[in-house]
Structure formats: C-alpha cells, structure tokens
Amino acid sequence: MEIPWDLVVIQTVNGIVTGMILALVASGLTLIFGIMDVVNFAHGELFMLGAYVGVVVIGATGNFWAALILSAMIVALIGAGMQIVTLRPLIGRDPLNTILVTFGFSLILQNYALWQFGPVARRIPEPMSGYFNLFYLQYPWYRIVIAVLSAAIIGGFYVFLKYSKFGVWIRATTQDRVMAQAMGIPVPWVLTGVFALGASMAAASGVLFAPLVGVTHTMGLDWVLKAFIVVVVGGMGNLGGAIGAAIFVSLLEAYASIWVSPAQAVIVSFIVLILTLLFRPTGLFVPTPK
C-alpha cells in the first residue's frame, strides 16, 4: 500500500490540534479524579455547556475572546455549585457514588441544553480567518491557535499548581487530606475550587473547539468517552500522562481516518485502551508497580 505522505502530514497537524483540545479536557478530568477521587461523568456536559454559554455570549457581544473567558467563569461557578450541593455530602463514601451522581448531572445538563437550545446545531464563527497553504489545503491559522492556546492554558495551570498558594494547598490535599486539614487548609473549599477549575478548563476547551464542529447537546458524550480513554491510558490522576496519551491517541485516530471512516477510526483508540489494559494496566506513562 502506498503511503500518501501529504495526507500523513495534514493528519499529523490535525491530530495534534485535536490532541491538544483533548488534553485540555482530559487534564480537567484527571485533576478532579486525582485530587478529589471523583470520576466526573458530567465532564463532557460541562464541555458542551461551555460551548453553549459561548454561543450565548457571542450572540450578545460578538466577541469570541470575551465568550471564552466568560464561559470559563460561568461554568466554573456552575461546577462549584454542583460540587457543593451534591458531591460534598458524598465525601467519605464509596467513590462509585460520585460517578452515579455526576452521571445524573450529565442527564440533567444534556436535557436542559436540548430543551433550551433545541436539537439544531449552533455555530460559533471562527474568530480569525487567516489561512496558510498546506499542500493543496488552505489550512486555517485558527486551528494552530487552538493548539497553542490549549498548551498555554495547561502550562499556566501547571505553573499555578506548582507555585501559587492555592496550588500548594491542592497538592497538600492530594497527598494527605486529614493532615492538610490539620494544618489549617480549608479542604472542603479546596475540593470545590478544584472542581470549579476542572469545569472551567472543560468549558474553555468547549468554546475553543466549537468553531470546528458546531455545538449540539450530544457533543459531551463523545468527548467524555475519549477523555476517559486518555485518562486511563495515561494513568489515572497523572497530568503529564494524560497530555501524552491525548496526543498519542488523537494522532493514531487521525492516521487511521486516512484509510477508514472517522466513525471507525474511533476503534483505534479503543484498541489502544485494550492493549494498555492488557499490558500496562496502570497506564502507559506510569512505571508498572512491582
């Protein structure tokens, strides 16, 4: 079989762009899991909600960047509310309860979006219209900007986690919740903050990605599934692993869709997951415990 090199290059760029978005979604998910022991099933719905808030804000102001920031803030508030009302009473219970509660939330949010915005996909216009030539394609600059912005958000988040006071609190809470509480760290509020932060990252990726595909109420499930795959492949709760796995899986899917339809290309990431579970059940980027 002859390999179409131009397609391979195009798909590499495509894979990296979706991989960066996926990394942004997955890092919110893995953050919430690693620190709170909460599997956030509603993460895809927060992504979707972020995109819809973006649609509304752009409708009101016409400014994409305002939409990006406002949407991240509003969804962070919604996430904080969710955490306070439903997840806080579950602290100390079996983590499986959290997957059920957030699943309930995903139902509510999805149906709310359908009810409020209807089944027709909404569009967010691309905020910039420049192109550059990639072989025979006019490749939009905006896609490159998405990848760079996602990387910037993740990088900023990493710096925040490493050097800010709240970041230190978060890491302390991850290591030892009881001890952190004893040292005067307001653990319940740290958990709320983490959830809000994860939610805002999902919302930001929702707004960034919306111009490429359009906004529908079912877009969340696709993403949460992919993010779950990425998080398991990268090692649960492992930020670097999630990013690496996101790019790896997206690249594989992009290459696969040269030869098969995009719907079938998804199977490639499933196969990666199965192989990972078989040979490195703790994740590709985590040393296997002896």
């Binding site: 439903t86 983590p95 997957i99 059920l100 509510i108 599934l225 795959i229 398991v232 199977i267 499933f270």
Partner: protein
Amino acid sequence: MTTAPLEKTSSVGRFGLSHSAIFWIGFCVIIAILVVAPYVLPPFWRRFLTEILIWGLLAMSSDILIGYTGMVSFGHSAFFGLGMYGAAGALLLFTPNLWLALVFGLSGAAAAALFVAFFSTRLRDIYFAITTLIFSQIFYVIIFTWTEVTGGENGLIFTRPHFTVPFLYDAKFNAYTLHWFVLAVVAGSYLALRRIMRSPFGMVLQSIRENEARTRAIGYPVERYKMVSVMLSGLFAGLAGVLYAVQNRFAAPDFVFFITSGDTVIFNVVGGIGTLVGPIVGAGFFQLARELLSRVFGDQFPYLIPLGMVFIAIIIFLPQGLLGFARRWLNR
C-alpha cells in the same frame, strides 16, 4: 457495610408464618397480579407492563454486578444489544423459531460477556465502570458502521416467531401469551438468580464486594469469580435483549448505545441494589414517571431533568434505594 440488628432471631414471624412462607406467599400474590393484569389493562398499558418486565430483567442482570459483586457496569447495553442482534440474526437467517432465536441471542451475549469479562475484570471500581462503558461503545460502533450485516442506523426488522413447544404446541403470540411468556421468563430468572446468589458461589461474590483482599487471602480465585459473575450478568442481559427483540420485532443500534446502560444503572439505584426485585421496581418507577411526566407536560418536556434530580437525591439521601429497607429480608 453496616449490619442491621437482627429483628427476630427465630424464623417465625408475627403471624406464626416462617420467613420463607411469607416470601412465597408474597411472590405468588405478585405473580398472580401480573398474570391477570393484561385482562384489566388497556392495550397501551399492557404493552407497557410487558416492557417494564423486560427492562426489569435487564436491570436485575446488572444487579448481580452492582449489588452482589460490587462492580458497577456501565456497559450492559452491549449484552442487551448482542442478545437482540443475535435473536435478529436467527430470525432472519432461518425459519423463525423462538428457541433458535434464544440460543443465538444468548450465544451473542455470552461471547460479548466473555470478551468484556476477560479484559475488564483486571480492573476495579471506577476503572471497571469506565472500561465496561468503553467496551459497550466498541460494540455500538461496530454495529452502527457495519451496515451490510447489521443494517447500520436502520437496524433490522423481522417477523415475530411463533410460540412453540417442539412436537406439542405451535401458535402465534398474541398480546396475552407474549406477556405471560415474558413474565414466566422474568420470574424464572429471578428465582434462578436468587438461588445462585444464596449458593456458595453467590456468597463468594458477596464477600468480594465486602472485602476483596480478604476473599483473596482466604484462597478464592477472585478474578475467576468476577469473570463468571460478569458472564452470568451478561447472559441474563442477553436474555432481556432476546425478549425485547421478540416483543418489538426489530433490533436497532440505539439499544446498544450508552443510554440503555445508563438507564440500567438508574433502575438499579432507584429500586435498590442487591435485592434483585429492586431493579424491577426501579424500572417500573422510572418508566412510569417518564410516561406520566410526558403525558402531563407534553412530549417536549425534558422529563429527565426532574428525574435526574430525583436520581441524585436518592443517591445522597436514600443510598439503598426504594426497596433498600427490605434488602436483608429478601436475601435471607
């Protein structure tokens, strides 16, 4: 798990009846009500009741994992769907025969269950839940895109087989006999599963739920027990799929999609896990509420918003579900 105080140490209840006598009287009364129900109910509700029983069987099969082995499966749609498509294959390829459809459907579900069990039982808790979900999506994508065989998005349409007892009886299903057939299968499955869960095998499953490390330390091969439990669960889910196919005369990829698995989990949590009948009650409660809400507020009403809130409230305030109060009694 908390241990509730023993209410009465003797097996003699308030009316001088033993526990098992009360259980069987209750069982027979409920079965009798369900047997005569089709004569009383108008056609729509008759069909509705039959469907609740089928969904109840699906939810009950998932209770083996959630309630008894302590593993939440978010992938039961795969087994349900494979049962459905297996039955569809048997009905389309050969002369329609109920028992052949059953054999094909159960084999399909068993194959899927073997596949899922082999990989996913390596993982625990949340990881198990997520991998079952992803496996069910694999089956969904295959069924959805393999149009030549599965009919893709349109699914498969077939005729309903006759109800046959080889050499003895052969008649078309009507609404009544179909209901009774479904009822018989569901009741039989309940009794079989109840027996299995009270057997030494079922006890090992429950001890895995209570303390996996200790069960392993005693010397039970935990992984093997888990695999068998997933396969058992998948088999009964496949049975529900066959029943659904026979009732509705079609198989559609929608039923392999995640929504079906999600509903199954909801039925379990609402009804009460670890009771086997709870999930049927949960299915009835949920479907009835859905139907009533969309009748009162119209088709466009997003009934899943109030139902989702009820679901969340039940997890927080009533984690044992509607039938949770009877859990110890039912399992004795």
